[in-house]
């Protein structure tokens, strides 16, 4: 499962091989690596041999041994300040899911200080074999107080904590994997020099790339070269290390060329992109992120494998963190607060690199989408006239899609059904949706498409389904424009544009949207239907309800049904006006006639609906004085119930 070792650890090991005399010293410091001990004076540096040139930037790795040892022994008597630090690191550990095995290695290393490299490797394999043994090992170590293992086996314990943390991150809008660099943030408290942190990150990223000891050796030399060069140029403190390119290994060059040349199958492309997004963003687990072999192709199956291993690591790490929590008397709340502070700090610099990577990936995805668009023009073969609508989740299947001539027949049949009242509104709309989907998938954008959308918009208008009408309308505007350009004709001559514009004018008048209205008027110059709609607008604005209702009775079917839907608003407005301007009580018959009700009874029902019954005893007159403010706060939502 975990044949890739954590790289910084590896890098250190590689050093250890080179210089044996300092081996114990280094190992003693391993625990220090994550800033465990606050009482160590990190600025203090012992005499370091020349081989450790870059140790200056790795100060924390090579602290005086003397400071460390007593601390190890007195780990039960910690100062309060130290306590705080500990909680910090504990939390960071928990964040650094992928660091967990590394820490275990460290503990093991301290147990067996004089291990050769091969032994270490063996031990790693042992680790992979069983977790429980590791836990026991850890428990043996004096650094950790004993933990009841049975307690750990209960999944609820760490699951609940995991939930707490994931919830926390989501709340803070921080991606989980980014938290890897929380560790750096933590060490910032220890190191005041800004530059050393960025250099540290840089070096770590460089080592993360390596996969074998040989490469690590090469990388070390390369890094030494770059850093000495930077020093020579006096750029060491000023250079932006986070953007400075990493030294490239030979292997990488090979991979890059191969990756570009290899053509990935289209279906896997998105999956790949997703997985690599996930991988590259987690540079805490770099050995997984980079393709390990030159000939490796990333496929879905390997992704699954990766995910599994990640999951295992996560569990391991959770166990670790619980151990740590035990040690700290479960002061989770405190550490959580600190974590929030830290997240705020680390956000800006941690995300820059990830953003760049994501941009590249997005580009790649877009390119592939274009390939799909150009190469895959689907022509359907399905011949059903009626087809239920399904939301597309994958690539469309030609067997399920109807070609254009079938769609034409389907539309005719559908409209017949609608006119003869053989189907209800929901059925019709669903059928329209599936027709529109088929058109969209096959990239059909011609007069037939316009017809489909127009009929759909008309039915929506007749039924008062205005949100759907709006979506149809935006599509129609695009279609009109496109067809007029391709055919070189005036926009108004395409389909029934003028007719729908006239509907739109009335619709916008009722919604009081001036700017869109002006835009529509700009396109239309002289047409009877437009003038009719403008006449309606004028009589509404001038309060000439007699003329308005006269026009309403003469209007076409669709226009009439649109007015129908706004009729209540118009009537209420008219009544409001009448109530405020008249002083005599008004005959109900006269009002019913004025407001185009069928008879007085209907008018009475209308008034009852809005709780506005203020009639006299004989039910013949509307009492004006009593209802003068009645129409101020009409709740139109009642209509929709």
């Amino acid at each position: 499962m975990n044949n890739k070792r954590q790289t910084i650890d590896d890098a250190m090991k590689a050093e250890k091989i080179n210089i044996n005399p300092y081996q114990p010293q280094q190992q003693g410091n391993y625990q220090n690596y994550y800033g465990y001990n606050s009482n160590v004076n990190y600025r203090y540096q012992t005499n370091i041999p020349t081989q450790y040139q870059y140790n200056q930037y790795y100060q924390y790795n090579y602290q005086g041994n003397a400071n460390q040892q007593p601390m190890m022994q007195n780990s039960y008597y910690r100062s309060p300040q130290q306590f705080v630090q500990q909680t910090n690191t504990c939390f960071n550990q928990q964040q650094n899911k992928f660091q967990a095995p590394q820490q275990q290695q460290q503990f093991n290393n301290t147990l067996q200080p004089l291990q050769s490299v091969s032994q270490q490797l063996e031990q790693q394999q042992q680790q992979q074999q069983s977790q429980k043994i590791q836990i026991e090992n850890n428990n043996d170590h004096q650094f950790l107080p004993p933990v009841n293992i049975s307690e750990l086996d209960q999944p609820t314990r760490w699951e609940s904590e995991l939930k707490v943390y994931t919830h926390l991150y989501r709340k803070l809008n921080v991606e989980m994997p980014n938290l890897v660099s929380a560790r750096f943030c933590n060490s910032r408290e220890v190191f005041n020099e800004q530059s050393s942190i960025t250099v540290k990150q840089y070096v770590e990223r460089a080592f993360n790339k390596c996969q074998s000891d040989d490469e690590r050796n090469i990388m070390e030399q390369l890094l030494k070269a770059t850093i000495t060069e930077a020093k020579r140029k006096n750029e060491y403190t000023t250079r932006d290390w986070s953007k400075f390119p990493l030294p490239t290994l030979q292997r990488e060059n090979q991979i890059r060329t191969q990756f570009l040349s290899s053509n990935l199958p289209i279906k896997q492309s998105t999956a790949m992109a997703l997985s690599s997004l996930g991988q590259t963003s987690k540079f805490g687990a770099p050995s997984q992120a980079q393709p390990s072999g030159p000939a490796q192709k990333i496929t879905a199956s390997t992704n699954m494998h990766n995910l599994k291993s990640l999951y295992d690591q996560m569990i391991q790490q959770q166990v670790e963190s619980i151990n740590q929590n035990h040690m700290k008397n479960k002061k989770i709340d405190y550490s959580m607060d600190l974590a929030i502070l830290q997240i705020g700090k680390l956000q800006p610099n941690a995300t820059t690199q990830i953003k760049q990577q994501q941009k590249q990936l997005k580009k790649r995805i877009e390119e592939e989408d274009q390939i799909i668009e150009t190469n895959m023009k689907i022509i359907g073969t399905c011949e059903d006239l009626e087809k239920p609508y399904f939301r597309l989740t994958g690539l469309p299947d030609p067997n399920m899609i109807r070609p254009e001539h079938i769609l034409k027949k389907a539309l005719v049949q559908l409209l017949d059904k609608w006119k003869n009242c053989q189907a209800d509104y929901n059925f019709i709309i669903e059928q329209f949706r599936s027709i529109r989907q088929d058109l969209l998938v096959q990239h059909i954008e011609n007069r037939f498409t316009v017809q489909v959308y127009e009929e759909n918009a008309r039915i929506c208008l007749e039924c008062g389904d205005f949100p759907r009408y709006e979506s149809c309308w935006t599509m129609l505007v695009d279609l009109y424009e496109m067809i007029s350009i391709s055919e070189g004709k005036d926009v108004n001559l395409i389909g029934n544009k003028v007719e729908f514009d006239s509907y739109r004018i009335f619709y916008l008048t009722m919604l009081n949207k001036q700017d869109q209205l002006v835009k529509i008027l700009h396109q239309n110059l002289d047409d009877q239907r437009i003038k009719f709609a403008l006449g309606l607008r004028e009589s509404f604005k001038c309060g000439n309800y007699v003329k308005l209702f006269k026009d309403y009775k003469e209007s076409s079917e669709t226009m009439g049904s649109i007015i129908n839907h706004f009729l209540v608003r118009i009537r209420v407005r008219a009544l409001k006006q009448i109530v405020k301007t008249y002083i005599s009580n008004i005959d109900l018959e006269y009002l019913a006639d004025l407001l185009a009700f069928q008879d007085v009874e209907q008018f009475k029902q209308f008034m009852q609906f809005f709780d506005l019954v203020r009639f006299d005893e004989t039910l013949k007159f509307l009492l004006i004085k009593q209802s003068i403010n009645a129409f101020d706060n009409i709740n139109f939502d009642k209509m929709n119930e």
Partner: protein, 422 residues
């Protein structure tokens, strides 16, 4: 220097730049933007670009190159971008949008005292160029892809140019160039205006946020600001404020040829607005704007038929000036004037029978020859509701008495003072 033979307008501009003659360079740039330099299309682009960048191999050129780069880094790039943009625009290809963005985005270096003139000129070009691009793209679109792109070109260009101005605005704010702030805001307003987004245009009003901005800006920007602000206020039916802004423009217009054309443009909107204030144009003015003749007289007299005729006759003009919406309100005004006439004829009595109004409406609106009492009631009710008339309607169907009772001074509310939005 560069050989005379191959000298084209770009090289001439570059030389002007080098010699610091900004005005001459600008006149050349104007020629290019107005499409008068068709010879640019015949150039070998690569060769010209090389020439502009001074990428010849000869020693002399290399020396020149160093000098030019050091002293005029932006100009070379600007002209290169301009050439690329011009060629792509005439071809009508899709790349033109990118080049458009390139050309206008890389103008930050012009933001200093010496070059601000050129900067202003380029700012003003952004909006006008947009429409040229769209037109050419629509004309030259052939395959379905190009058609799709052309149909969306307007929107993309709009958002791109807004981006450009926002970026420029940020730069201007950083350098705190008071003079250019208003120009920037005006251009954004202009873009929204062309896209019929008046609400958005009202949002970029920076003068309300910074009080001194208006007085520290150059005159021409002030005038532009007042013009757009006035027009936005017309859409919101705030006629008093609109009138103030528009008259400001009229007063501050210089009496040059350009200033007079500017004044003409403003008067197109000021005349109808002033009618709400009770001010009607004089004969001399009407002679210049014949389309307003019938309109003004009809409203003044309360002649509904005449007003309708004026609207129908010059419908195209009203639509072009986005004034058609205003005509509804003018009609209300016309009805009000008619009612006032009736009141005056009846010697300002308190109680007038509705028959009188019915008669008046019949005379003024011959097409609708027989308006019913209820129709008259509706119109007068609306006028009362809008508070244009102070009074009440008395209606008694049984006794057949329809009358309107008026207060002491029923027409004291001026049409511009009332709330039109209701």
């Amino acid at each position: 220097m560069i050989a005379k033979k191959s000298e084209n307008i770009l090289l001439i501009i570059l030389r002007y730049f080098r010699e610091g003659k900004c005005l001459e360079a600008m006149s050349c740039l104007k020629r290019i933007f107005s499409g008068k330099e068709q010879s640019l299309l015949g150039l070998d682009i690569e060769q010209t670009l090389k020439q502009l960048r001074l990428e010849n191999d000869s020693e002399a050129c290399k020396k020149l190159n160093e000098n030019a780069r050091l002293s005029h880094p932006g100009w070379v790039d600007l002209l290169c971008n301009l050439l690329l943009y011009y060629v792509e625009k005439e071809r009508g290809s899709a790349n033109v949008i990118d080049h458009f963005e390139n050309l206008f985005k890389n103008t930050k270096w012009l933001l200093d005292e010496q070059h601000s003139q050129i900067y202003q000129f380029l700012c003003k070009q952004v909006v006008t160029e947009q429409y040229k691009i769209v037109q050419i793209m629509k004309r030259k679109a052939k395959d379905s892809e190009a058609v799709k792109r052309a149909s969306h070109a307007q929107e993309t260009l709009e958002s791109k140019s807004l981006q450009i101005f926002q970026e420029m605005g940020r730069e201007v704010n950083i350098k705190n160039m008071q003079k250019l702030k208003l120009l920037n805001a005006n251009q954004q307003m202009k873009i929204y205006f062309k896209g019929f987004k008046f609400d958005r245009a009202a949002d970029c009003d920076k003068v309300e946020k910074e009080q001194n901005l208006l007085f520290t800006s150059p005159k021409q920007d002030q005038v532009t600001y007042h013009y757009y602000k006035g027009r936005i206020l017309i859409f919101h039916s705030k006629f008093v404020d609109a009138q103030q802004h528009l008259t400001q423009v009229l007063q501050e217009c210089p009496r040059t040829q350009k200033g007079i054309s500017c004044a003409r443009q403003v008067l197109k909107y000021l005349i109808p607005i002033n009618m709400f204030m009770g001010r009607y144009p004089k004969k001399e003015l009407i002679e210049q704007f014949k389309e307003y003749d019938l309109l003004c007289t009809s409203v003044k007299q309360g002649n509904i038929a005449g007003l309708q005729e004026a609207i129908d006759k010059y419908r195209l003009i009203w639509i072009k000036r986005s004034l058609l919406i205003l005509m509804d309100q003018l009609k209300v005004l016309c009805y009000r004037n008619l009612c006032r006439k009736v009141w005056l004829i009846n010697q300002k009595v308190n109680k007038i029978h509705l028959n009188q109004f019915q008669k008046a409406f019949r005379i003024s609106h011959p097409l609708n020859s027989n308006p019913t009492i209820s129709e008259v009631c509706c119109i007068i009710a609306n006028l009362i509701y809008l508070k244009l008339i102070q009074g009440q309607i008395y209606l008694n169907n049984v006794k057949e008495t329809y009358a309107i009772t008026l207060s002491q001074d029923p027409f004291k509310n001026r049409p511009h003072e009332i709330q039109w939005q209701n």
